[in-house]
């Protein structure tokens, strides 16, 4: 992930050397020890290969006991949010990856309320982070905010569906959207190009803000610049997922075996899987930064503007509740006093009634 080689520890006695050039190494060491966290949300209709793709991307099996419901059961179901966390480690670097799945999205006959659940989940994570950040003990803030959302577009359509457009517009200000064309092995190369262009046109037409890869800095090497350019040109990525090993041309590759050939997952000529993985890995940091600097800050300013005293509210609330309760008590006491006075009057006015009642308080 980090492209810099750890530099040699230079003798501090060298003239003109202060030593802060060693800072990146320290940061690197600390980060590695602390580990990284990343939350990825996957959204898309059932059957688009989302789970398979996630398993392929991270070479793991996130859903060991999966039960796929039948259509009749899906009629009643609403959108669920299922978050699974895995800790994966590669060469000493730990990654705590949370994948948020959204089964039930797009299944119902009427999908009007499909995305409410998802949006409230995203907002909840922001809310929790805001709360933690404003709390007294900030040492162990867990960042469960959604850093990236893979939106799966069906390859069977002619572009974006009304549901796709509506959903993306609803979340493009809250989370980084990476559109992905699922099951890309259903398209010929020409169809793929046409579909990609069509989707990009529609995204622009509806002013949907998807995640844009940052341009390579001018001081990066040519290879990296070229790679970034290629990545940018391939959006939306059309991918095929699989964790099955197939024998092809003498070697074992991950792929899908058809009677007419083998689709290799890691072959760049077959699909954009490698590009998607590269993008995710090289830009994981950037995705987190954009979430923090843009989406979270948006949320925070909206929230604070709206909620006013929400930040220190817990203590305030208690005081307020106390005050209110006291006011109520007072009111009740006044009311009782009034009733007593009334009864007094009645008593005096109606002596003939055999007013042997005593006062009852």
């Amino acid at each position: 992930m980090s492209k810099q080689q750890p530099t040699q520890f230079i003798n501090p006695e060298t003239p003109g050397y202060v030593g802060f050039a060693n800072l990146p190494n320290q940061v690197h060491r600390k980060s590695v020890k602390k580990g990284f966290e990343f939350t990825l949300m996957v959204v898309g209709e059932s059957g688009l290969g989302k789970s398979t793709l996630i398993n392929s991307l991270f070479l793991t099996d996130l859903y060991p006991e999966r039960v796929i419901p039948g259509a009749a059961e899906k009629i009643e179901r609403t959108v669920q949010i299922e978050a699974s966390t895995v800790e994966i480690e590669e060469r000493g670097v730990k990654l705590r990856l949370t994948v948020v799945d959204t089964p039930g999205y797009g299944d119902a006959i009427n999908c009007r309320d499909c995305f409410k659940t998802i949006i409230s989940y995203i907002d909840e994570q922001f809310e929790r982070y805001l709360h933690d950040e404003s709390g007294l003990n900030r040492r162990h803030i867990v960042d469960n905010r959604v850093h990236c959302c893979f939106y799966f577009i069906s390859p069977f359509g002619h572009g974006l569906k009304p549901l796709d457009v509506a959903f993306m517009k609803a979340i493009h200000n809250k989370v980084n959207i990476v559109p992905v064309i699922a099951k890309a092995d259903t398209l010929t190369l020409k169809e793929r190009e046409r579909l990609k262009k069509r989707i990009l046109d529609e995204i622009e037409e509806h002013s949907i803000k998807i995640y844009h890869l940052p341009d390579a800095e001018s001081d990066e090497d040519e290879d990296f610049k070229e790679q970034t350019r290629l990545l940018k040109a391939s959006i939306p990525f059309s991918v095929v997922g699989s964790n099955q090993l197939i024998e092809a041309k003498g070697k074992k590759v991950r792929g899908r075996l058809y009677p007419w050939g083998v689709v290799e997952v890691e072959n760049p000529e077959h699909n954009d899987f490698l590009k998607l993985r590269t993008m995710l890995i090289t830009h994981m940091q950037d995705l987190q930064e954009v979430t923090q600097d843009l989406h979270y800050e948006n949320f925070r300013s909206e929230r604070l503007k709206r909620g006013g005293r929400k930040v220190e509210n817990e203590d305030m609330n208690k005081d307020q509740i106390l005050l209110e309760k006291e006011a109520e008590l007072r009111r009740m006491q006044e009311m009782i006093a009034r009733m007593q006075a009334q009864m007094q009057l009645q008593m005096q006015g109606g002596d003939s009634d055999g007013g042997a009642h005593g006062h009852h308080v």
């Binding site: 209709e45 059932s46 059957g47 688009l48 290969g49 796929i68 419901p69 039948g70 259509a71 009749a72 899906k74 009629i75 299944d107 119902a108 006959i109 009427n110 999908c111 009007r112 499909c114 069906s154 390859p155 069977f156 359509g157 002619h158 572009g159 569906k161 009304p162 549901l163 509506a166 099951k183 092995d185 259903t186 010929t188 190369l189 069509r198 899908r256 075996l257 058809y258 009677p259 007419w260 050939g261 083998v262 689709v263 290799e264 000529e269 077959h270």
Partner: protein, 294 residues
Amino acid sequence: MSKGQSGLGKSTLVNTLFKSQVSRKASSWNREEKIPKTVEIKAIGHVIEEGGVKMKLTVIDTPGFGDQINNENCWEPIEKYINEQYEKFLKEEVNIARKKRIPDTRVHCCLYFISPTGHSLRPLDLEFMKHLSKVVNIIPVIAKADTMTLEEKSEFKQRVRKELEVNGIEFYPQKEFDEDLEDKTENDKIRQESMPFAVVGSDKEYQVNGKRVLGRKTPWGIIEVENLSHCEFALLRDFVIRTHLQDLKEVTHNIHYETYRAKRLNDNGGLPPGEGLLGTVLPPVPATPCPTAE
């Protein structure tokens, strides 16, 4: 009639089935037109000929079906259209001066395209088929089958068959209309093993092993449409055109149409208003319903 969400290859498949451009391909409309807001019914008629036999083929497409966010009752326009055709035929049939050959615009067969998710049917598919299997012959077809491997395909088919059975959806050929044992065994085999047919359509030709075949060219191989080991297009074609075409028409006429007619006669307490049999004018609502012809 071909039904299913847009982009499932309906038009391409119909073109492939009848080896002629009988369906205006969606690619020409998708560049300018958007997904229609309501379900539209587009009927295009063609006359095709083979071996001296002429056939008037009408393909009815339903763009917009299932594409909206809210798809409730999107099958209603379709049900309405089918019933309208029955009504037209009924009116002609009870006419005093009947035409010798009543123009038959009834829908004989509805190809329902199922999206190859690999999981199960969608709730929309179930609802549609539940409503419409009573009025028209439905043949479920798994679209774009080149997206599934052989195992996925057979698993998916099994699951779809089971779901249809559990939900009481009778697709064509319906069990109850098998006329004799020979029909039954033949149809049973089709029902339990081959259907729903997993198809791939294409109108492009490529050179494979010295022959020109219809297919789809991908970086990892060429998918041949008429190759039985690749997809079941040939089975669907033989089934619909070569063996069961006449039966489809008969079942539509003898069963679905008669059901409609009986219902109409019962509801109306007589014939379509204003008409009369043999010159007599029947009162609009008689005391007893007319005997139904069955």
